[in-house]
Amino acid sequence: MKRIFLLLTMLVLHTMMVYAQSAVTGRVTNNNGDPVPFASIKVKGLRSGVSADANGDFRIQAKAGDVLEVTGVGIMPAEITVTSTSTPLAISVVRNTVSMEGVVVTGYSSRAKRSSASAVATVDVADVRTQPIASFDQLLQGQAAGLNVRTGSGQPGRSGLVQIRGVGTLVGSTTPLYIVDGIEITAGDFTTLNQNDFESISILKDANAASIYGSRGANGVIVVTTRKGKSGALRVNYDAQYGHSYFPRNKSQLMNSTEKLDYELENGNPNNWRPAEVDSLKRINTDWEDVFFQTGITNSQQLSLSGGTDRTRFFTSLGVFDQTGVVKTTALKRYTGRFNIENSTRNWKINWNTTLGFSKYTNTDENDEVVTSPLNAIRWTLPYFTPYNKNGGYLQDPTPTSQPNALQELLENKQFRNQIKVLSNVSLEYKVPFVEGLTARTNWGLDYMQNESNIFLSQNTAKGASTEGGKGAIVNGFGRTFRYMGTSSLSYKTSFGAAKEHDLTVSAYHEIIQGINKSFSYTGYGLLLPFQNEAAITQGTSTNNYIANVTGTGGQFQGLLSYFADVNYGFRNRYFINGVVRRDASDRFGTNNKWATFGSAGVSWVISDEAFMSNIRYLNLLKFRASYGSVGNQLGIGAFASLPIYGRSSYNGVPGLALAQPGNPDIKWETKTTTNLGVDFAFLQNRITGSVDLFNSNTTDLFFNERLPGTSGFTLVQGNIGKLKNRGVEVQLKGDVVKSKNFTWNIDANYTYVKNKVLALSEGQDETLNGERRVFKVGYSSSTFYLVKYAGVDPETGDALYQDKTGKITKVYNPNDRVLLGTSDAPNYGGITNTVNYKGVELSVFWVYSWGNELYNGDRVNIENPSYVASSLHVNLLREWRNPGDRTDIPRATQALEQNTTRFLENGAYWRLRNVMLSYNLPKKWLDRAKITNIRLFIQGQNLATITKFQGYDPEVPASSLTGAQYPTLKTYTIGVNVGF
């Protein structure tokens, strides 16, 4: 124990000591003779090894007769026997583009991809980490088949919407499980994590891959491994990036001042403008986007150091990410630090990872219909107003509706959030020496997040005036979330048979996870003193209405106890079988359903290694996979959902208790059963590689807020009902179109088709509304829109027309005439990357695409509603019906707008140029003199173009409808440099 401690603390010293010894040296090169950097070299039979440097040079302790094993990313493994310790070894390796020799990382173990029957996609973080985005989940967009990422928002630090293989639930969560170095982390809040510290991201898609996560695996699992040190001399890397971001254009155009004022005059002049006022107002044309927007600036820098000996390796980094948003005042500042150390001896391996992060996040409200949200103000504020009046004060709306001045709300009120995040884990592995192949392992870790939020509402603003006492408020909130987990396992690995043709690995695990949170907030009122902090609060009395409000909540939010095991068997390294079984007990499950069991089995066959295939020369690899298994979802059950719960209430200053939920003791997990068939292939000397997967999932016991008769006093109770099916195809293809010494062009593309279908709801139930505008109906997708068909305008009366159930045109809007329409989830999506390299200059062009869905445009509902004449309106209303005989699609202004019609349903398909990057690696011969390993310069553009029919800023809305206050993904241009010493 002591010795390990010593190793940890005296790392640097050790590094020096090891280097003082004599050793075998060598260089790893490819068949062209160019050095292959950073390959791993170890003496066969020993646990630890060294790593080659950027020039392919290495130095290892070995004696003559030892066999050295050389492995690395992108090369075929090689072995070479040391003949002499005095002459440098020249090891030539073959480039390997077939990922089949890689490993599948499940978070609990890793196994050779060759033997895996699972559907697992791997994203090479190096390809995406330079994108100027602060939430790493957004980087995954378009990177892997089966993975659908909707960015949802371009706000700095906002996470996207991630779905793996479609929607397998009605109302439960579709968020995948996120695992970093074996530890579950809070999903959807990645603001304070630095993607530059990540090494690989694996996406576990089918039941065979995810069932080891049991009741948490149904939405798929995203497994992240972080960067580790490599042995060798100290390596220093510096990355920097700087850029500008801009708001895109909106396709829905608003009326200008003249158009708007003329429109008002045509419609009764509700604002009572006098002719002279109209004339002067027509001369004003304020561009509200100019008023609220600024150029967003991204500035990111990272310094990392790594190195070590053959026994001890470390990696450490410091990063700063500073991004200002396009809406004034918004920004994200993030500081991250990371430390990783690994030590291995003959039988022991210890690994410690710690990530620390701090971020300050000032955001703006989005996806709401609040008039003071700046992103609504740019749409709704009248073009003939100015932000300031003649005296330099904020202009107060003189019209009867008197909307607040949104710029004043933005600049005088303040809000921000400080977040501290800590991820840490320690793992210990022991090779039991007296039983060959037996390993014991334990991994304990924590995920800690602390949020401090601060809102200051000035008494001069509309928000401040509508607080208690009407003189502003300060809301200060503090919350912390702490999760720890521990996994302990025993694993036995053996080979047997005459030629050791049988391989068997058996593992048994125990796991415990607990998550506890705690939060409180207070609100102080009466900000009369000239401070923007707590000092301004007036002491509350029974008469001044400034009594501060304090609330808090907390408790356990996650409790899981599990036992599980897996078995992997291989025969002749060609035929493979595996199986997993997991039993989970969760605090979410009802008292009547405490333990859940999940499992899977898979087989795979590398048919291209069979003798009868050996004469098909163009075929390099052909492998078939098949698996079947079950996983669960427990995200969707609230804490204590199984119990009737009395919550806090009060009346007339007296505390009370009131039943807040009816409770359902039978509540349980959703079970998703998936069949997966896959094929992996490589042709023409591996110039074309790829895989195709077919899957069919059935989810049963769907979470459902079963509607209760309102006469019970409740509308919903959480329960499990029905059945849902997801079917899909995934294709992943890579091809080297041109492959020559100086010029290469390759294409990496993926495509996914997935669509779900409701197979059953509650007994005797055929359909039920899904929110306001969609329906769950047996036989249809769970995201099917359900609206009345809009049929234009009656030319005689100007009344809106609708189509009734029988197809007849009617003037009467009747919700019973709703019809089944398209889906809000896109069934087709994917990404394509073209990379061209000429003598070190590389251009990579990355498109993402999505089609087949519809979107409800709520922004248009607000700006095409003639009763909102007090705010800006869409130019479409200029062609509204005015006189008998007018043929138009916009009804008369005097008729109330019916919102739930197809008039506002739009095509949601898009092609987006997600990233274009031009980079240049400076030639080695220039750098060698300066003792620099590499310098890479790049310039990139993010979201440069979007092809879509959607009438808004961005078709990637975070829900089925665009509500309002949309923060689209931004156009960003950055330049950057990576330097390695």
Partner: protein, 477 residues
């Protein structure tokens, strides 16, 4: 050394196993497990308070932007007392123009919110009797309030959802719920059945609240339903049901115990400085709890969403009628309803559900209906004298007297949630707003509601009918 580390692995297993019960079956710390009956009478007291808390729902007596405020502002918004202004964002236009259909989400919310109060009453009633041997008078106190509140909510629902107010009408009203059962799918009770149950609950409440351990309302407070409030409920219900004699009897009791406010204290009622003649009011103590009349005049931002109708304003004597200055104000160049602006003009004010003024009007009309014009005129004059400085007692008779009673009712109870129901009660008198459309300085262009419109009766929510097929829809929806 190495052996010692090896032991850590089994220890880790053991650590993982201990405390598992707590891990997978945690006890709520911030709420109370409701799967067991009340453990002590304190919990029942808390549940009694919790029952009242639900009245502040934005669907019932409170108001937020989009919510209905069904029993406070809505009956006047739907009547000829209020006119929508251009300051409105149109959130309540569906109601002021009577264009709601069965998928209206506000009606559904209001339906559920009412039954939520009823459910809380029924949960209390289910368990309360276990304490009747130890604390019988405290049980009477809690039980009486629960029964009265249950009756009150059902009656309020009946006023919206029933097509008739006649005592023995077979017309369908609403399900009368007397036990807490989340799975029950009740049918609609007839108006007659509802009246039977409402009057039964109120009669029982009246007896129970006559024999309690301590006064319900300390000092001048009127936040809890006491025996007086139950009498007021009985008066109103009997009055709607046309049981004139019964209405007079209970109104007599109320008036005897709580006379009309003096001219000097009348204004104070509306700023909660005085509780004279208030029989029961729903308490609002901070902006966080809501504002009852924010949907009509939103005080924090001084938005006049609905303004008083010119015909209504014309009914008041602007100099002598003390109600004129109390109910209305002229601010920012327009007339607003200032009645419920509260003490600090932030809209936080108790909602007066019952007060003695209404009792006079009930007794007056009931006497008239029974042919006792003398008593009817006496009550009418008493009220007018109290409200109008230097009032010369009137001497109306016959139809003129009846009309005078209705006019006074409109003037006295304006903006207290009566007008729409009164018009419906009097035979669906057609509603006409003269201030209409752009010419009338209003964004609203639907300004009349004829007697034969379906809108006099709220639709049974479509959501509710889908789940509970025992519920018949209302005619025309």
């Amino acid at each position: 050394m190495k052996r010692r580390i090896l032991y850590l692995i089994p220890i880790a297993f053991v650590l993982g196993l201990s405390g598992c019960k707590k891990l997978i079956d945690p006890v709520p710390e911030y709420s109370l497990d409701g799967s067991r009956p009340f453990e002590n009478i304190d919990q029942a007291e808390f549940a009694t308070t919790g029952m009242y808390g639900a009245l502040r729902s934005a669907q019932l007596y409170s108001s937020t932007n989009e919510a209905l405020s069904a029993f406070a502002a809505l009956p006047d918004i739907m009547s000829d007392n209020l006119v929508e202004t251009f300051e409105s964002l149109g959130n309540q236009r569906t109601f002021s123009e009577w264009t709601y259909s069965s998928d209206n989400s506000s009606i559904y919310s209001m339906w559920v919110a009412s039954y939520q109060v009823i459910a809380r009453a029924n949960i209390l009633l289910k368990d309360i009797d276990k304490f009747s041997s130890t604390s019988p008078l405290a049980v009477n106190r809690m039980k009486g309030q629960a029964l009265a509140l249950r009756a009150q909510m059902h009656f309020d629902l009946l006023r919206y959802f029933a097509g008739s107010y006649r005592r023995n009408s077979d017309t369908l009203a609403v399900p009368y719920i007397t036990s807490y059962d989340v799975k029950a799918k009740p049918r609609r009770n007839s108006v007659k059945e509802c009246y039977d149950l409402i009057l039964g609950d109120l009669a029982q409440a009246k007896v129970l609240l006559g024999n309690i351990d301590k006064p319900l309302n300390a000092g001048a407070s009127t936040g809890l339903i006491d025996r007086n409030a139950v009498n007021a409920m009985l008066a109103r219900v009997n009055f709607y049901a046309g049981q004139w004699g019964e209405a007079i009897t209970v109104a007599n009791e109320v008036i005897a115990s709580k006379p009309l406010a003096t001219a000097g204290s009348f204004a104070g009622i509306w700023t909660d400085q005085s509780t004279s003649e208030v029989l029961w009011s729903v308490q609002f103590t901070s902006a966080a709890e809501g504002t009852p009349y924010g949907g009509v005049y939103f005080t924090p931002r001084r938005t006049n969403i609905y303004r008083p109708a010119p015909e209504l304003l014309a009914l008041y004597n602007t100099t002598n009628d003390i109600r004129n200055a109390t109910y209305f104000a002229n601010t920012g160049g327009r007339v607003i309803v200032s009645k419920h602006n509260g003490t600090s003009s932030n809209g936080v004010v108790n909602w007066k559900v019952y007060r003695t003024g209404e009792m006079y009007l009930i007794r007056s009309e009931a006497s008239y209906r029974l042919g006792n014009e003398g008593a009817a005129l006496a009550d009418l004059n008493a009220l007018r004298t109290a409200r109008i400085t230097g009032f010369t007692p009137g001497s109306e008779a016959g139809v003129a007297l009846f009309n005078a009673i209705q006019t006074e009712r409109r003037k006295e109870l304006a903006f207290e949630g009566h007008r729409f129901f009164d018009l419906k009660r009097l035979g669906r008198l057609p509603i006409t707003r003269t201030a209409c459309g752009a010419a009338g300085n209003s964004p609203s262009s639907i300004c009349t509601l004829p007697s034969n419109s379906r809108a006099w009766v709220f639709p049974i929510p479509a959501n509710e009918i889908i789940i509970n097929t025992n519920l018949a829809p209302n005619p025309g929806y």
